[in-house]
Amino acid sequence: MSCTQTILDYGLRAIGYGERLLPRSDFTLCQQFTLIGSGMIWNIYFGLFALMFGFCFAVALAMGKDSPRVLLRKPSEWFIFIFRGSPLFIQFFFGYFVFLSLKPIHPMFESLSAAWLGALIVLFCNTSAYSAEIFYGALKSIPKGDTEAADAYGMSGWPRFKRIVFPTMLRLAWPAYTNEAIFLFHSTTLIFFTGFPARQQRGDALYYASYFADKTFNPFVPYPILAMYFILVTLLIIGVFGIANKRLNRHLPSQARPKLRLRPQIIR
């Protein structure tokens, strides 16, 4: 079987198109590359959507934690504490079983126990909490002069937030937020190793990598392939966030711009 045929057969296997049966023996390099790459669709899906929705919620959470009102502050603090203080691995398990027990109550909760929605919700909460902490830290380090200037101009409420607080906060938080994005993508690999089932063997990249490793009993091929894909994704994220960083800091003299640096934050 030629390689293009394999790509046609298995390229979209992870989302259920193409050949139904996974290869069972005589694994070629091409098959491993294709299937693991097709699993990356899920990793990118989870990462991208959790990041997008999480961003909005994280800003709200950070503002809540900074709020002088107890009713807003306490829930945000607890939310952040719970999701940052416990392992993501356990959160996935817990989330899955909660969704599973919700299932009989109402057909509305039917799709929650499937990975595409349930895991996304857990991941969304998790990344919101982590990013909220980053944004909160940035919020605390906004130069006092900036907000004083806003007060002096008579800005308050929404315009003050939109034009002064939010851009400065984003600018200060951006390097740390880039790391958060990278590690969010890394943590998407946990999903199919927790409670969430991979129906009809539609799994993510690590799922297929470990499938090959189990079948061939040779970890030295599939995992490096997986590593290569993830390094590519990481480079892509650094590139995109770097462009955003440049735009956020475009008003500063070029020496004063903070450089993006990859710092470890690792598993959650």
Partner: protein
């Protein structure tokens, strides 16, 4: 209820908490050692060694760690068996990799096929610890590398001016001073290590996640060993609370240690402490 919570299987659940704590107790110093080695290698003046140290830290940080956990368990196991195979059966002629199989001679099997159960468990635990130490060693190495660079260069220059050799400078000047700079990073790493312990489950060790799944679940939908339905949710809630409490306690303790260490140091935090009193 109290009777139910003290059944034999629940006792194994409580024991597995001990397993987790034991893992933390062994892994933390081991990872620190790996990290120290990595950081020292990355600073070495011998180029290949420096490359080795830098690649080790960069590679493990760039790839999802769970992939490494899955990878190292098989790779280490096969590595050990391969090494023993080379030593114990030199006159073995067949290839070790036969298609999809990994075949070594019977004497080289680890653990031995006829070994008692506890040997298997201890061996599995040992591989898990080694895996954790390798992965977290890279992160610790990164922290220590940064801390070594944070030690004021003037200190090292002074040492050189006094005629100390490179080795003496490293051990007598650099290493004693770097810990203050490394502590915030290391305490962060400790928190991460705590949160990584449930991954033990993936390495095939019967840890708390395993028992929570086992005990909370029902054997099959209709007949069950346990006097309850699907309780996995509550078991995992208990685990969640356990981890939350654990991280909170460590946070408090580490804050105290940090306050102790910064006392009298010429850093911003030390200065703030001085002003406060």
């Amino acid at each position: 209820m109290a009777c139910y919570l003290t059944t034999g299987k629940h006792m194994s659940l409580y024991w597995s908490v001990g397993t987790v704590l034991l893992l933390l107790a062994i892994t933390a110093p081991a990872a620190l050692m790996f990290g120290f080695g990595g950081a020292a290698a990355a600073r070495s003046s011998f180029t290949p060694l420096r490359w080795f140290g830098k690649t080790y830290m960069a590679l493990i940080r760039g790839v999802p760690d769970i992939a490494f956990f899955l990878f190292f368990v098989i790779a280490l196991d096969q590595g050990f068996e391969w090494a023993r195979h080379q030593v114990l059966c030199p006159d073995w002629t067949d290839a070790i990799r036969q298609g999809n199989d990994f075949v070594v001679c019977a004497e080289a099997k680890l653990p031995q096929g006829n070994a008692p159960q506890w040997v298997h468990e201890v061996y599995g635990f040992f591989v898990a610890v080694l895996t954790f130490a390798i992965v977290f060693g890279a992160f610790a190495g990164n922290v220590l590398f940064g801390a070594m660079r944070a030690v004021p260069a003037a200190q090292l220059e002074t040492a050189a001016a006094y005629g100390m050799s490179k080795r003496q400078t490293f051990w007598r000047i650099l290493v004693p001073q770097m810990w203050v700079f490394a502590l915030p990073g290391l305490s962060n790493l400790w928190m991460v290590l705590i949160k990584a312990t449930p991954l033990l489950f993936l390495l095939g060790v019967e840890d708390i996640v395993y028992w929570a799944r086992e005990l909370g679940g029902t054997k099959n939908p209709r007949f069950t060993d346990y006097p309850h339905g699907d309780w996995r949710m509550w078991y995992f809630l208990a685990l969640l609370v356990f981890y939350l409490a654990f991280t909170k306690v460590s946070e408090v303790v580490l804050d105290r240690v940090m306050a102790r260490l910064t006392h009298g140091q010429a850093t911003a935090a030390g200065e703030a402490q001085r002003k406060a009193t």
